[in-house]
Symmetry: none
Amino acid sequence: MKFTEVVISTKANNTGEKYHRILEAAVSVFAKKGFHQSTISQIAGEAGVADGTIYLYFKNKDDILVQFFTYKTKQVFAGFREAVKKADNARDKLRNLVHRHLEEFQKDRKMAIVYDALTHQNMELVEVNIRGMSKMYTDIVSDIIERGQEEGVMRRDLYIGLVKRFILGAVESAISNWLRSKREYDLTSMTDPLIDLFIRGIGNPDA
Amino acid sequence: MKFTEVVISTKANNTGEKYHRILEAAVSVFAKKGFHQSTISQIAGEAGVADGTIYLYFKNKDDILVQFFTYKTKQVFAGFREAVKKADNARDKLRNLVHRHLEEFQKDRKMAIVYDALTHQNMELVEVNIRGMSKMYTDIVSDIIERGQEEGVMRRDLYIGLVKRFILGAVESAISNWLRSKREYDLTSMTDPLIDLFIRGIGNPDA
Amino acid sequence: MKFTEVVISTKANNTGEKYHRILEAAVSVFAKKGFHQSTISQIAGEAGVADGTIYLYFKNKDDILVQFFTYKTKQVFAGFREAVKKADNARDKLRNLVHRHLEEFQKDRKMAIVYDALTHQNMELVEVNIRGMSKMYTDIVSDIIERGQEEGVMRRDLYIGLVKRFILGAVESAISNWLRSKREYDLTSMTDPLIDLFIRGIGNPDA
Amino acid sequence: MKFTEVVISTKANNTGEKYHRILEAAVSVFAKKGFHQSTISQIAGEAGVADGTIYLYFKNKDDILVQFFTYKTKQVFAGFREAVKKADNARDKLRNLVHRHLEEFQKDRKMAIVYDALTHQNMELVEVNIRGMSKMYTDIVSDIIERGQEEGVMRRDLYIGLVKRFILGAVESAISNWLRSKREYDLTSMTDPLIDLFIRGIGNPDA
DNA sequence: AATGAATGAGCGTTCATTCAT
DNA sequence: GATGAATGAACGCTCATTCAT
């Protein structure tokens, strides 16, 4: 595919290349400094282009962030459905979801940092995107929980509205801790411990 | 130091008053606009003082944020120990902790917003404070878990390093959702549902 | 008056002084380069203040122009009524108007240049002001013509709507020529020749 | 030169076509936004060529304006002589001049707007052109006046240096008013009322 | 202590011009 | 000839900080 593009149109390829180079550079700078503290000059420098070039690909600074959400992040989240589909029971679906979540964010640390920061700021710019993605995620979790209840492996007396946000929150919190940790460790290794906490809780059932 | 001044003179007392007025004004503005988008002028305006006056009480803009963490937030967190002490078993201690946590953040919404945003940004400025407070919190949780294990009400096979962060993350996530919710609801009412999820998980023990 | 202000309030005086210094500087730069080609830096430099200082007295660059019209130019035009009042017949009133017009514009050459340029550009910014001032002027002329007709010194068969604009145009044209002339001459000396052309025209009445 | 190219080759002919397309586009954009507010991109867009193409026909942005004066406007003004020639007495010559002037500017409104704006700005770029055209025009008027004096239809005691500029100014002023008028009316219909004012003035000769 | 006018570095953005294709 | 992506200087404007009063 990439190769075909090169053959067909050098221009289109270059355009795409530069667009992505700027986007990656921007995410990199945003991750380091935060969106508002990042300057166009820094992004241009990181991307190896002139400041003005940015404006050939993005309407303005805000637009870079919006594009980041619209294309990059949204794509990652959309992939979660796929992971869930691959399992045939609720518990494994939940496990796959969490695993894929941790995996994707571990794979792209900078995206993880930017995403983490933005979801905790009131930025109208991306609020709609964030709410949309959050809804997509919690809808998936809701479906899994309901299925789990049908399968008999999950409690019937759950307040699903809380549970779905609880699970997203716990996973995001795990990512957040990983990002801030000074030790380097495999984020995906948290999958099973997390699932275990979700399912069994911390209480001693024999008590 | 500030306290001493209050004792010594009326002038110092006024000073203390103005200091707090500025701090409250700052938190208010930070909550509305975010730290970097807030201006000294806005804070001064909200506090009813001149721009220059701010610099009599704070070294610079950053310092306002540091003071916010050093005094205001730290104080809130310190109160958590007290709540925990009032219960005499692990489960109630955990319940009291979570309840107090939600209560304090509900009581001071602006602080909650600022705290939420800052803990998810890489600001060297407050990193130490955040780590300190997080440690204080998770230490409390660790103690509770260990006690619960001794009491036999909590599982022995827990990865405490994860659990303590898991609980903090889940509570903070509940706060975060409450802050972003369009509906108004009583945040403390989330206490028992949360504790229930912590202790029993979502799994059906009969399965 | 000036002195009193100094005694009462140095601050107010300084403020007014700086405001006017900037306005004068701006008009000076506008006259030399034209509004759009003038930069804030140039104006600030000419006024002997920092760039940022401009924004303590004017909302933005556009506002400088608007203020110029609202206060400076409007004031000059308002003075025209006064000159007209001092004569007791139509011809002298017209003479006084034209004389005062030429006199004021000669007195403030820079204002004249800026006014001349702006009235021939489509700038929404000052369009209302320009139309307003033009109307004020042509209303005065209309009154004079009508009075002249009553006095019997002016023709009855005049298309006043044209005449009033004709007179303003001819005077402004005289100013414009004076501004562009390489020779220096007394603009007010054009008064009587102009009035003569207005009244008698170029035709030979004996023909 | 350009004309020669047209004769020599089809390619050159295309070139000439594109050259004029760009010039027309430029005038159109200048009329709408003013010279300094117009961008090369806008002109290129209006002309249906690439930005870079402009530089194959014009040295730079300023050059477009210079060419506008050198070819387009100068051509219009040159035509005035022709109109004057068609009358055989001073009064009709003046009438024909004014009529043609109004007619040409009414015919090409965009040119009129650009010409009007530029003649009232201090642009070294076109100053020479403007002075040249103004001289050409006032020379024609001077000739007419002198002839009128010989014919005995015009006063002998005229300050011709003023009269010639007076007439040009009044006509340009009529055009300027027409351009700014919200009502649409036939500009050439102003010819006779203007001539009447020129010849007879506003005064009552019987007074 | 308190003020707020003044500063000027630094930002996001535009656009005339160039040049590889 | 024709293109339009790329450039980077230059602009208007903001705002943390200082300091004379």
